[in-house]
């Protein structure tokens, strides 16, 4: 391989890539960044403390003091939305970090060792695939008691096989590349080849998978809180707020359920689009 044509092709590619900055990818990226920023800064920019009740101003519609109105015990809905962003994102964030870490480890292990390890892990994953996330969360709540961690840990476990399956097939392709054999001949250990090279090359797939996974985790974690087995009242969290808003809903006041629900949908759309565009770029379709 000579250097000149390669660099020529590279340059051409880079310039076309620069000309076509994907506007959808950019928009989704900006929205995701803003949402994460909101999750970090939310409690500080909230106009009222999220749990401050004002019985005299209960169940009010939107006004100048309470921009989105108040809930049935007089808490400011906007403040609860802003403060609730933190737990709404922290739960799915931990789920994605845990499941991605474990799924990547298992996926690379399957691809590297193959044979017995691969077939045993694949069998275990097939069992896990049969358990819907929300069912696992319910059983975990029955065993450990309802709460943030029961929901987070059970959903993390449910997501592991989805990550592992994708990483396994990506790592299998890497495993067959000649550089792996070259490294082995050079006396590099399997651990080092996997961590340095195989992981490095499947990393874009990991990132794309984690981004899409965050969207689904946000939906499942919200559903767990909605069912009362995730974040517990009086804490603010979007799924819980959709549930809290149901009493006002029957009186025709949509704001709480609608605004919390809209934020969930917006976040899921943004992270899904970002993840899909990223995985299109890495050429790792489903």
């Amino acid at each position: 391989m000579t250097a000149v044509p390669v660099s020529g092709v590279r340059l051409a590619r880079i310039s076309t890539a620069a000309r076509r900055i994907d506007p959808i990818l950019a928009t989704a990226g900006v929205v995701c960044a803003l949402l994460v920023l909101l999750a970090i800064a939310g409690p500080w920019i909230a106009p009222f403390p999220p749990n401050q009740t004002d019985v005299l101003a209960a169940s009010q519609g939107p006004s100048a003091t309470h921009l989105l109105g108040t809930d049935s015990i007089g808490r400011d809905i906007l403040s609860r939305l802003l403060a609730g962003a933190r737990l709404s994102f922290l739960g799915p964030g931990i789920i994605v970090v845990l499941s991605t870490t474990l799924g990547t480890l298992f996926g690379i292990a399957c691809a590297w060792w193959g044979g017995f390890v691969d077939s045993m892990l694949t069998k275990a994953f097939n069992v896990l695939f049969a358990i819907p996330g929300i069912l696992m969360a319910l059983v975990a709540a029955a065993v450990f008691g309802a709460g943030f961690w029961a929901a987070v840990l059970s959903l993390s476990l449910v997501y592991v096989p989805y990550v592992a399956r994708v990483i396994r097939s990506a790592a299998l392709q890497e495993r067959r590349r000649p550089y792996v054999e070259a490294c082995q001949l050079a006396g590099m250990s399997g651990l080092r080849i996997c961590s340095r090279h195989v992981f490095g090359n499947v990393q874009p797939v990991v990132v794309a998978q984690a981004t899409v996974g965050f969207g689904s985790a946000l939906m499942d974690f919200g559903a767990a809180s909605f069912l009362g087995i995730g974040v517990q009242p009086p804490q603010a969290e979007w799924g819980l707020m959709v549930s809290d808003g149901r009493t006002e809903l029957l009186n025709g006041a949509l704001q709480q359920s609608l605004s919390a629900g809209a934020l969930i949908v917006l976040s899921v759309v943004a992270f899904n689009v970002l993840g899909e565009r990223l995985s299109d770029r890495t050429g790792a379709g489903r």
Binding site: T122, N126, V127, A130, I131, P132, G133, I134, L135, L138, V139, A141, A142, V143, F144, A146, G215, M219, G222, A223, F226, L227, G228, I229, G239, V242, S243, G245, R246, L249, L250, N251, G252, L254, S257, L258, G261, I264, V265, V268, V269, N272, V273
Partner: protein, 330 residues
């Protein structure tokens, strides 16, 4: 295998070739159901909180406790208790509910028809609307961006959000549908379960539409389709005969797995709409620590999922010769 043995064993070899994948699929499904039920059973058995005190009360003597423990079979090791539970469950006996003080089977039986009604309604919406939307978007390129955007948003709407919005608008504001309950009789049930089934089907409809659209697009780009168009066949005929038929297999798999998972999705929707099915019973039983009910419904959900998935694998084997040769899905 050399040619002499092959010719001797052709019938046998054929039986093995056809039969082995079937055996593998069925045993895989059975194994999955068995492993999940054992793990769930063991997890619930290890839970802190003693069911004995709930039966005999806090002030019982040690002898009374031991007697109750023996009567409940709790002095046995967990694998034995599991086998006993499994044996009874196969005869339709899931034990007694702690909170309702009734047989679990008599709690589940009246509710399961409600849940299945809801799931079937949602499944019809998912398959009809999802396939129609996806096929339309896949075949008519002009509409594709709009339909893609609809899919992108639809797939991101969790059922509990959809449920709240539907209740707020169509049940409270407009008053077209009831806000609560499952209804009596066929038409009343459809009336009560319309909004719940829409909430349940929304995201999955978008998912099936996405798979259908991708699959139709892939098939539409194939050579034999271009040839058919080039031969001057009517586009609608080309679409039906050459595109839709070939695209149907991934669509069948995706919609089948979706429908299999609907029972779990019904858990959330039934709770949101106050529909008294097995899903909302499960949600109510968790904080009550009513383990026999939790165990029975969890296993029902897993068994339904595993059975439908196995049937799909078998159907795929019948429909697709390539899958037949490979012996099952993965």
């Amino acid at each position: 295998m050399d040619s002499a043995t092959t010719s001797q064993n052709t019938v046998f070899a054929r039986a093995v070739r056809v039969g082995w994948p079937i055996v593998r699929i069925i045993s895989g499904a059975g194994g999955t159901a068995l492993v999940t039920s054992f793990v769930t059973f063991a997890a619930l058995a290890f839970t802190p909180g003693d069911p004995v005190s709930r039966v005999v009360g806090e002030r019982a003597t040690d002898e009374q406790r031991a007697a109750a423990r023996h009567a409940l079979g709790l002095d046995q090791p967990i694998p034995i208790r599991f086998l006993r539970w499994l044996g009874n469950a196969l005869h339709g006996d899931f034990g007694r509910s702690i909170t309702y003080r009734q047989d679990v089977s008599s709690l589940i039986a009246p509710r399961i028809s409600t849940t299945l009604f809801l799931v079937v309604m949602a499944a019809v919406i998912i398959v009809v609307v999802g396939v129609a939307l996806g096929a339309f978007g896949g075949w008519h390129g002009r509409w594709r961006p709009i339909i893609s955007a609809m899919i992108g948003v639809g797939i991101s709407i969790p059922s509990f959000v959809a449920a709240s919005v539907l209740i707020g608008t169509f049940a409270v504001e407009l008053g077209w549908f009831p806000t609560y309950g499952a209804g009596q009789g066929f038409l009343d049930r459809i009336h009560h379960l319309t909004l719940p089934s829409i909430a349940l089907s929304l995201a999955w409809t978008a998912y099936v539409a996405q798979i259908t659209m991708a699959s139709v697009r892939e098939e539409a780009g194939r050579e034999h389709v271009e040839t058919a168009v080039g031969r001057g066949l009517k586009p609608s005929l080309v679409f039906r005969r050459h595109v839709l038929r070939n695209a149907s297999l991934p669509v069948l798999t995706a919609s089948g797995l979706t429908v299999a998972g609907l029972v779990a999705g019904a858990v959330v929707v039934e709770t949101a709409f106050g529909v008294d099915g097995i899903g909302s019973l499960l949600v109510k039983s968790v904080p009550n620590k009513d383990y026999p009910v939790v165990m029975a419904i969890s296993m029902l959900i897993v068994v339904i999922f595993v059975t439908v998935a196995a049937l799909l694998d078998l159907a795929q084997m019948v429909l697709d010769p390539r899958a037949r040769a490979a012996g099952g899905r993965r």
